[in-house]
Symmetry: C2
Subunit: 362 residues, 2 copies
């Protein structure tokens, strides 16, 4: 548990904030504070711990040897957003990584997960990746999800604890409740690294993001070159918003992945990388010339109109350097379809200055 | 002039520093301070003003219209390092952009410039670009300089003044003393922008960096896509050292240059850009695996052995995050040839961590 004094002190230092949203009242840790990770939410009846940071290895063979002494589980890493789902009182809550209640996930989670799970397991928290072309947060989407979203359970926590259930127990619950989950490739030993390389070669070909390695007390992730290229391509329009090491890290990962997997540096790859950087920028310039702003349009489906309105309100309140503008909210085949734009204010401002003939001192 | 109080206050605020090097004693402004630019040097008998920042336009046509109301001079921008040369007492001094006395330029400047210029013009300061494959500072070099260095006068200042001589007077002096200078393309009007676009297309094809536009009281620069690609290619090994906007700016410049010049987005260009980012990183990894460090080797020629030693000392004293290691100093055809390595400590450290299987939390 987290005692009341810790919460009070965190609030005083502006590391935690009292939140009131959709009828829920709780404290949200907006930053790491002492041993409490960002995204931790303190409700009246329970603390939901923030999902911890997971370190990344850039080289497979040496990284696994360094990080894991014995066998380790290998699971797919899905490219979506991280949500913790649980029940409080008689309501289901879905918390984003940052500890916000997500009205979109809340609205849709019952389409994918049998919520009876929480009747039987009121003390458990499902950690779920939500991915697909119609999600309100991230532009990337696994190529095998053709429309809407899908959800993938990848961990189960207990309320009031930062521990995860053991892998075997998690798999049993997933099976018993037919929970949709990330693909679990099994328990690997260090001798099976060649097999793992084959697996990653295949995941890369299939456009999948990568894998997470897990033991009882250690985790690490490893990403395919596909996902690194995709990150570069997708972010080009919002390039100014990213931390300095964003591209450096991805370029290094890309190069090390190719080296380790023995993937040839073909002209094809060079071209793909160049394209990833340049095409988004050309698109941003064209868009600015036509519409005087640089933006991306998002679309997502809801059961309840009020959840769509709540999502817009949440995005408008929490987005930094991004303006969120509603385009439409209409009924379609029994669902409410929300469309909205995220306008990238920094890129819009810079292009306005540059295309207007302004000087840059650098 | 700069009064003694300003110097004193700048020293107190650590924006200026007293320097003693090669028998010269002066104050060097290490940062902009009030109206005094970084690189300004205060000698006993004269103040040499720092070379001012020159803004960059990212689009030619609109940029020129915005920045210049009447005609403007167009000169080549050479890709080298900026030096101010002048005489104090009976000695010639060469100051780097940051205000350090450069023992290399000092040693070699007489090979390229008739120093009698300073007999006749003791109050003038030549602003010179030094470029070529055998310079100690920058790895880039214009493709038309095949060995050693060349120097190019591009401005003339007066001591104790931040003003430049008028263009006509500068050109007269260049002619009278046969000073080597940047190519001057002439005085252009706004009507001649199509001609200017042709010129830049040609400069790009020839692998030249770009142009500077000048009037009596305004300057701006504009860079070819060749130079932008070259910047990316050359810096890949030292990527961690660069400010966040380094690549973003160059990618935008590249894209806007191509758009304005009507250069097609061919696979060729995509490939070249991908190669620019990736090849340097592969080289860094190979180098690290072989030698446990990431570095570049520099070579330059001196007349006097003591100037080579002084340069090494200067580089070792002033380089941040870079270790400078001598490789050799030997006589060759009557010159002293210095070779040394710059070891990129950040990239070396990161690759050591990554290739050792370390975790990165990002």
């Amino acid at each position: 548990m987290i005692d009341a004094d810790t919460v009070k002190e965190a609030v005083r230092q502006r590391k935690a904030k009292s939140e009131s949203f959709l009828g829920f009242e709780y404290f949200r840790f907006s930053d790491d504070f002492r041993d409490v990770p960002r995204g931790t939410a303190v409700f009246q009846d329970a603390v939901i711990w923030g999902y911890p940071h997971i370190g990344r290895i850039f080289v497979l063979e040496r990284g696994l040897k360094e990080q894991f002494k014995g066998p380790f589980w290998v699971e797919e890493k899905v490219d979506g957003y991280n949500i913790r789902v649980f029940r409080t009182g008689d309501r289901i809550v879905a918390l984003s990584r940052g500890g916000y209640i997500c009205p979109f996930t809340l609205d849709r989670i019952g389409d994918f997960i049998d919520l009876n799970f929480f009747e039987d397991n009121p003390d458990l928290v499902l950690c779920v990746e939500v991915a697909g072309p119609e999600n309100p947060y991230i532009e990337e989407s696994p190529p095998y999800i053709k429309e809407d979203i899908m959800v993938f359970v990848f961990d189960i926590m207990k309320k009031n604890s930062k521990e995860f259930l053991p892998q075997e127990e998690k798999l049993r619950l997933i099976e018993r409740y037919s929970l949709p989950s990330v693909e679990v490739f099994g328990l690997f030993t260090h001798e099976e690294i060649p097999k793992l390389k084959d697996l990653l070669y295949r995941l890369n070909e299939e456009g999948r993001e990568g894998v997470v390695f897990k033991t009882k007390d250690r985790r690490a992730k490893y990403i395919t070159s596909y996902a690194n290229l995709s990150d570069i391509r997708i972010t080009a329009k919002n390039m100014l918003q990213l931390p300095p090491e964003y591209y450096t890290n991805r370029l290094l990962r890309l190069v090390l992945f190719m080296e380790e997997e023995g993937i040839e540096r073909t002209e094809h790859l060079y071209e793909e990388l160049g394209r990833a950087f340049v095409d988004g920028l050309f698109e941003a310039i064209d868009q600015f010339k036509r519409e005087h702003k640089v933006y991306k349009t998002f679309r997502c489906r809801f059961h309840k109109k009020e959840n769509a309105i709540a999502l817009l309100e949440l995005l408008q309140r929490t987005s930094r350097h991004i303006q969120v503008i509603e385009r439409g909210l209409e009924e379609e085949n029994g669902m409410w379809v929300l469309t909205f734009d995220k306008v990238f204010l920094n890129m819009t401002g810079l292009l306005g200055h540059l295309l207007g003939g302004g000087l840059v001192f650098d």
